[in-house]
Symmetry: C2
Subunit: 164 residues, 2 copies
């Protein structure tokens, strides 16, 4: 059982993550230079979705986790995307999964490198926010109000063990 | 001339900044604890405005500035708010001004403390993004597309000198 429940963390790439969300960082070349050439604008890097309701900006302050990490819960948001941008220069862990008949399939774990955020697409199964260093502060852009149930949870037993 | 053009940087408080925008940080107590009590959600901290068009998430990579800082340009965005959230743990400078018959009045400069961002309200005069440390990386949430002119600039001569 240990082998099948063990998931190795992969490096994050936009290609590997494309089915689940967007990778947001400063690219090699900005889309446009602004402010008299002193600021590179890497423009509109996320596919933001908000089905009804309203997008807003929140601050999440999460307890850092240790590796190996025990994954016993995944969730998804049917009505909107959810963008996590670090407010520190630390890497963090993101876990996603394909849907398998209404529940998460085998998860994939990625290490988000420093200076990088992720936007998880609407209705994509993902683990909760998992910083690895303190403070676990993130800017979060998601659907902050609106009708309907925007949270679906799935508990996993036995848990997956996410390892380096 | 030097005296009248000199502006001393003030500490940022939500109260002092209220006429210009929002201060976004983790408050003493979160609005709600999520993720089995391991994450504080400081919810919906900014008055986001997008008049037509669409809100999006971009990454800005700005050259750090030195103090004293010479302010020769202010700008405002008639069609939307603009939220700057640091991707580092460094403080940064934000400069705003009241409107004075279609041009910026005397500016106010604030030092944004670590772990804090600002959302500049629609049509508020402000200086360009001014990090003081490298890397000058920010998550920016603003109006990324739409009709109409969303940028008004005003050049200032002689410049203001922003000092500690």
């Amino acid at each position: 059982m240990a082998d099948t429940q063990s998931v190795t963390i992969l490096p994050l790439t936009a290609e590997a993550f494309a089915d689940y969300g967007d990778v947001l960082n400063a690219k090699d070349a900005p889309d446009v230079m602004i402010n008299q050439g002193l600021c590179g604008r890497h423009h509109d890097r996320a596919q933001m979705i908000c089905d009804g309701g309203r997008l807003g900006v929140s601050v999440f302050d999460a307890v850092p986790r240790d590796l190996p990490y025990q994954l016993d819960l995944m969730e998804r948001h049917p009505l909107g995307s959810q963008c996590f941008m670090p407010m520190t220069e630390h890497p963090f862990l993101v876990i996603v999964a394909d849907d398998d008949n209404g529940k998460p399939g085998r998860p994939k774990a990625f290490m988000v490198p420093p200076h990088t955020g992720v936007n998880i697409h609407r209705n994509v199964w993902h683990g909760v926010l998992t910083p690895l260093f303190s403070p676990g502060l993130f800017t979060v852009i998601d659907r902050v109000e609106g009708d309907g149930n925007n949270l679906e949870e799935h508990w996993i037993s036995p848990p997956y063990i996410i390892t380096e």
